[in-house]
Symmetry: C2
Subunit: 217 residues, 2 copies
C-alpha cells in the first residue's frame, strides 16, 4: 500500500442520500475545475453543495481518504475519485424507450451525453414513428428490443412510455438483460433481482411542494 489515498474501508452499506450527495459534490467540483481552482476544503465544497463540512468528510470517508490534512482536497483528484466511485469511468449505453414528448426532451438533453450517458437506441411502438430518424439513429420497433439490447450491449433503459404500457416494456427490458432503469411512468415496477430502478415522478415532487405550501399558511 502506497502512502496515497486509501481505498474503501470495507463494503459497507451506503445510503441513497449519501450517493446523491456524491453526485452533487462531483458537479460542484466540475464547476470549480472550470473556474480554475485547484484545491478545495470540505467547508467550501459543503457551502457550494448545500450541506455541512462534516457531512462532506463523512461521505468521503465511506470510500477512503482523499484529502490532505491542513490543506483540503485536490479538485481534479477528488473529481476522478468520485467519478470512479459513481461508476462513471466507463461510458454507459442507454436505450430510450418511448419517443413521445418526454422521450424527445431527454434525447435532446445535452447534460446526459456530457456525463457519459450515450443514447444508442430509441424505441417506440407507434408504427407512424418507427423508422423515423432522430439524430443519426432511427426509431425502432419496441418488438426488436430484446435483440437490439443484446447486439448493442445496452445496460440502462430509460422508460418514457404511458403508464399502461410500462410494466410490459419493463418485462421485455429485463428479459433482454438491462440492469438499470430510469422510469418516468407513475407506477412502481416489479423487477427481477439484480435490476435496479429509479423513479422520476413529477407529481410527487409537486405534491410535496403543495404540502409545504399549505403547511406554511
Amino acid at each position: 500500500m502506497t502512502r496515497g489515498r486509501r481505498q474503501a474501508p470495507v463494503s459497507k452499506k451506503i445510503s441513497e442520500s449519501a450517493v446523491r450527495r456524491l453526485s452533487l459534490y462531483l458537479r460542484t467540483l466540475e464547476e470549480l475545475d472550470r473556474a480554475g481552482q485547484e484545491m478545495v476544503s470540505s467547508e467550501q465544497l459543503a457551502a457550494k453543495s448545500a450541506t455541512t463540512a462534516a457531512q462532506v468528510r463523512k461521505d468521503l470517508s465511506l470510500f477512503g481518504s482523499f484529502g490532505k490534512r491542513g490543506f483540503g482536497y485536490t479538485v481534479e483528484e477528488l473529481g476522478r475519485a468520485l467519478r470512479d466511485i459513481l461508476g462513471l469511468t466507463q461510458p454507459w449505453r442507454v436505450a430510450l424507450i418511448g419517443a413521445g414528448r418526454i422521450g424527445s426532451a431527454l434525447f435532446e438533453y445535452r447534460g446526459l451525453t456530457h456525463r457519459g450517458f450515450q443514447i444508442v437506441a430509441v424505441f417506440d411502438c407507434d408504427p407512424s414513428k418507427i423508422g423515423r430518424k432522430w439524430g443519426d439513429s432511427m426509431i425502432r420497433d419496441v418488438a426488436e428490443l430484446e435483440r437490439v439490447v443484446g447486439d448493442l450491449d445496452i445496460q440502462i433503459a430509460i422508460l418514457a412510455v404511458p403508464v399502461e404500457a410500462v410494466q410490459g416494456v419493463m418485462d421485455q427490458a429485463s428479459r433482454a438483460g438491462v440492469r438499470g432503469v430510469l422510469n418516468f411512468a407513475p407506477r412502481r415496477l416489479k423487477v427481477p433481482a439484480g435490476v435496479t430502478v429509479k423513479d422520476v415522478n413529477l407529481v410527487i415532487e409537486l405534491e410535496s411542494l403543495t404540502f409545504a405550501l399549505s403547511q406554511g399558511v
Copy 2:
C-alpha cells in the same frame, strides 16, 4: 369534536420522505377507487405502494386517525383526507418558465392537469418563441413575469430554463410572489425565506443508478 376521524395531533415536523409516501398512497388509492374497491387495509396499501404496513399506519398517524380497527380504511375517505393533507383541495395555478424541450413536454403532460395543477402562463425569453400559441395560451416574454404572476394569481413556477439563466429567473419569480418552485436546472437555487424549491435532476438519478450497477459487479 365528533366521533369521526381525529385531526392531526399537533403540528409535528413531518419528514420529506413521509410526505412523498403520502403522495404514493394517494395514487394507489385512486387506482383502487377506479377498480371499484371500497375498503383497503394498511397491509394492501403497503404492498401496492412498496412499503410496509407499519410504515403506512405510522405515516397516517402523523395526521390523525383515518381507519376502523378490524376493517381498514375507506378508499374514498382516506383519499379525501390525503388530498386535504397534501393541499390538493384547491387547484394550483402554475407558471411554466422556459418553452424549450422540457417545457414542451411538461406542458403536454396530462398528469399535471389531472391532479389539479393548471399551467396558466408560459414564458420564454427567445423573441422567436414569444407570441406563439401553445394550447390556448400564448408564450409571453419573461420580462412580463412579475406583472403576470400577480394578475393571474400564480403560486407555483416550474423552471425549465438553461442552467445559466435559472438563478436570474428565480429571482424574478420570487420578487413576483411565487412561493413554490419546481426546478429542472442542475443548480442549487438561492431563495428568500418562505419560498420552497424542489429540484428534479436526471443526472443525479442516473448517477445513483450507475453507482448501484457498479457496486453490484
